[in-house]
Symmetry: D2
Subunit: 347 residues, 4 copies
């Protein structure tokens, strides 16, 4: 017996699922994960058929999901990289089977019904769904580390939400932001954030040499942000944009401070908050993060510019939407759940 | 009465159709073209719904195709920017209605049945189809100008074929190429060449930061090339590649010459052949065309490198696949058909 | 005598200069413009050496700047597409020579010394410079049309400034914006906005797959915006970003309204303000402009999203930085100066 | 004492040097490498100043090169990621100091003076240079593994050369290629292959939406290819192209076979040749490698298409120019030199 954890991934044939599979197979504490296929998925027998870049490293067999089979194999932890609706309907059974679950979808992130309405979930068993909603821990390790450690169900944050919450949490919790004047996040994401399904929006010719705003005021990640940051809905304006790049997010966040501050104070506030945390990097002004710096890493990079008046503050926050914004953060959560060092398997 | 030609476009909601519509509406000899919608197409009432970039310039109403209505409006010339199968079935009726037709699809380009087989056409009336196939003129103005002038049906060339044929015709017709040693065209195209339908191949994430070869030895344009150049099938190897750019083609073509030549001789051969033709530009060695140079123009740019041995010749040929490779060439053909200057409406 | 205007362009070898040259040579009211070379420039004898895409359309000879020679040729209008410092030192002599000048640089845009300080100009003749500064008309045709018509010296606006001012002017002039809560423009530009000089910032590998913010709070165009919009400096926060695209600007602009409005009211405010103006297009919500829609056109595209509270408004404004943001606007200004229709030469 | 190898890198501030540094610092057999700065280089004190993406992982101090200091630190292996001329002048001293050297430049790759002429080296000590040229082992592990194992000086192959040689070696060594009919490699590379220096060629606006051929018939890597493959110079035509992507190479290679073959025979020839080698992946027809598949890996991916005549063969070969085409291959060579498994540190 290896003493290594046995895990399974459902939904490996999406972009986040692929990224997750690659991280998990190198993780020193894990056996090679079991890859599961949903019913009705495209039916590849091996993930390398979907992603030829995986060939040459042994097989990646995709097996149909079967609870008894998972139990027989000793799987303890299930990652879901499935659509929101699929996660919403699968999780109750998975928890009932005694599995711990890290769900990369939006199914269990939102506590408030009015925020959750945007997903139009149809819960078969409303009572269980309500219980699980209450139990689910929002998987942002830098904020909710203790509760993640003991969670049965971790709701892995949205990519945009990760970039925005990590930038704002230190200043908001310190009471430094004038919430009444409003907070704005102008966020820009690479196309993998829109998923792998081919649509006219993701057609190369529609995206290349272009930039477009979308879902202004009504993006699904807005609810996560206000819930986690303790804001009123109208206090945060969120405008996402689609960038002509495959991956990466940059959020430019505009706030007014309650008092005139100096750059060194702002920097200290950020650094102190993330002291001892490896996966947030704070840049000293005037250096700013760029999308490239955190690509293919689990870092969230934070930087800022402060106006001469010491009141107007612009925060810049970058993550790789598939790593810190999805698969990497899921692994970081797993590390917390099993009391491993939070860097393990992520470097 | 304006004295201007009345034309119609079927298929304006594709990339080539849009490009064509934009050129035609500025053409000084034409009235604003009638835009037609195929049955079962997405049903936009105005082309600006499909392409918002058209807004603000008056309407672009899309009307259902009706032969009597076209006659009533005095339409004399019909452009088809439709799928191959649609063009194959529509043209017999259009010709029967007395219209002249410029077809941008591959439906009528190929004379030889074995080449045409790649399209798997199902002709309702085989006799008429055979007659039209015989009558159709391959619309490469620099080669077939006289026959285009009097044509009822012009089969507008494929984009790749345009770049390859124009590069090779001068040297082949002068008997300078050693055909037995084989001719190779390594061609690279932007994504608009693959059409507007969203597929996993045209997804931004599949194309960006990538290059891929496809349809090596069996691309549909290969038949056009060998037919127009008078080659045996095995004498030309054609390997297309998909570039991470929206538009533009560069073909790098490799030949052996029958005798050692000097660069000035090669240049003269190209220049003499295209003497008096506006839309082919010959670059003097060592300058080579690049994709950017001919973007958004109707030029085919030709350049070359000759090995020190004077025998191995590399030709470089660039076109914008949507202009000289499609819509612009269609307009150039129209100019010939109506005895207008070949530059009209194209500058 | 042709009756056509004789013009000259200094600085045609930059991106804006090339765009300008291409527009001017097709303008029906103009003779082919005289292209001038600054002393110490790279010394190409013909612009087609710098931009091979120009070959095949006759020559584009670059001649050294000589005032007597310009007079001899009957040049009446001089376009400057030169660096700021060069424009600042050349314009006094050009005006003294009796030329009308449209300057694409930032040399004469700013009225207030504290804004102009960012350029560190060294005026040889401070008195003349002050007079010209006072006389120079900020060349935004939709705002300053009358004064442009009679101007000797037109200071063509900055590209970012064009996108921001045109979006905000209607609402600000109608007193609908709560200026005290602050206005934010998060703007994104293609790389041609950074000029043609190769630097580590414009290296392909630095830009591709990336996005970066820069010059937050202290970009040169900020002064233009506050001066033209009548704002206090601290009322406008401007954060530019460099996009991995060659050209195009999208500004996302955040304001609070003084009272709750309905989308139709906002749309009316924009439409009424630009009523009768061709080069601003207003999109009806929920449609938003995208960078692609205005590329290679002189349009400024405006759209917006209004929060449910009717108070928080997000404006989206797009221009092609080389056309409406530079060369096209310069031609639009010329059209006003010579009482031609403002569309002439720009379609 | 750790028992780990002590190495140093000169030239870490270039693209290959950065890639190498990142691989070396994770290599389980190595101590963290010493990073050296050449005299006259930009003088950063820490590599994270040049590449901010490195921040947060401890320091990357850059120290001036000093032979006594290297000795004092116990450095045994020196990597050079320096310009060709710098490597040519530094290696004699490094070898004299008893170091083993892996040189990523072109300085020591070529055995024949007529090929080396393209670099115009000025050797201070011609005798030593000749000796080292003779001793240097061309570091392509799949071909020269035994000699690399005992080499003092490994000349790491060029990126293009790696892709071409690995594709052709199996068939050429088996005598299956008709060399007289000529071999053609049409190769396409991302921009990082052109180095980090900003030039008009590497400006984003010059590269994006573009493709260009360059150095046809006279690229520096051509000599390596013919020397390693045992070809006459005129037997191989090599045409490189610059792709609008940051990294990755795809070579499309055209050969005539000496006899009609079946696809399975070609596949066997490739597979047998690379049997037991981890870093070459052979794709079964009709699957072809794409640039994306090997990005950020040390794989060389090979695929092919065979014409129906069984004679005309098109090989497709992909590498990441910074990994298998540079830094990864250097580490693979190191693994051979120290008798470690060839995968170590590369997964």
């Amino acid at each position: 017996m290896s003493g290594k954890l046995k895990s399974a991934v459902l939904g490996a044939s999406g972009y986040s699922g692929l990224e997750l599979t690659r991280i998990l197979e190198r993780h020193p504490r894990l056996e090679k994960p079991v890859l599961l296929r949903r019913e009705g998925s495209d039916g590849a027998a091996d993930l390398a058929e979907v992603f030829p870049e995986l060939s040459g490293n042994g097989g990646y067999p995709l097996r149909p999901l079967s609870w008894p089979e998972l139990k027989r194999q000793g799987v303890q932890l299930l990652f879901l990289a499935t659509p929101h609706e699929a996660s919403r309907s699968l999780v109750p059974e998975a928890i009932a089977q005694g599995l711990r679950v890290i769900d990369l979808s939006g199914a269990w992130r939102l506590k408030h019904a009015q925020h959750r309405a945007i997903y139009s979930f149809q819960d078969a068993d409303a009572v269980t769904a309500a219980e699980l909603t209450a139990k689910a821990v929002y998987g942002l390790p830098e904020l909710n580390g203790d509760r993640i450690a003991s969670a049965e169900l971790v709701a892995n944050p949205g990519c945009y939400a990760t970039s925005v919450i990590l930038a704002l949490a230190p200043l908001l919790r310190a009471g430094l932001i004038d919430r009444e004047r409003g907070i704005i996040s102008d966020s820009k994401s690479g196309v993998s954030g829109a998923g792998k399904a081919p649509t006219s929006r993701t057609h190369f010719v529609s995206v290349a040499d272009n930039l477009s705003a979308y879902s202004v005021f009504n993006h699904r990640h807005l609810g996560e942000m206000v819930e986690q940051l303790g804001l009123d809905d109208a206090e945060l304006t969120f405008a996402p944009h689609m960038l002509p790049i495959p991956r990466g997010i940059l959020s430019t966040i505009y706030v007014h401070l309650n008092r005139a501050m100096k750059p060194a104070e702002v920097e200290s506030c950020l650094r102190d908050f993330y002291s001892g945390r490896h996966w947030v990097r704070v840049f000293a002004t005037p250096k700013l993060p760029q999308v490239q710096f955190s690509l293919h890493t689990n870092y969230c990079d934070l930087g800022f510019c402060l106006a001469e008046d010491g009141r107007r503050l612009v925060l810049v926050s970058c993550v790789d939407n598939l790593v810190k914004g999805a698969a990497g953060q899921a692994v970081q959560n797993m590390n917390l759940m099993y009391e491993w060092e939070e860097r393990e398997g992520l470097q």
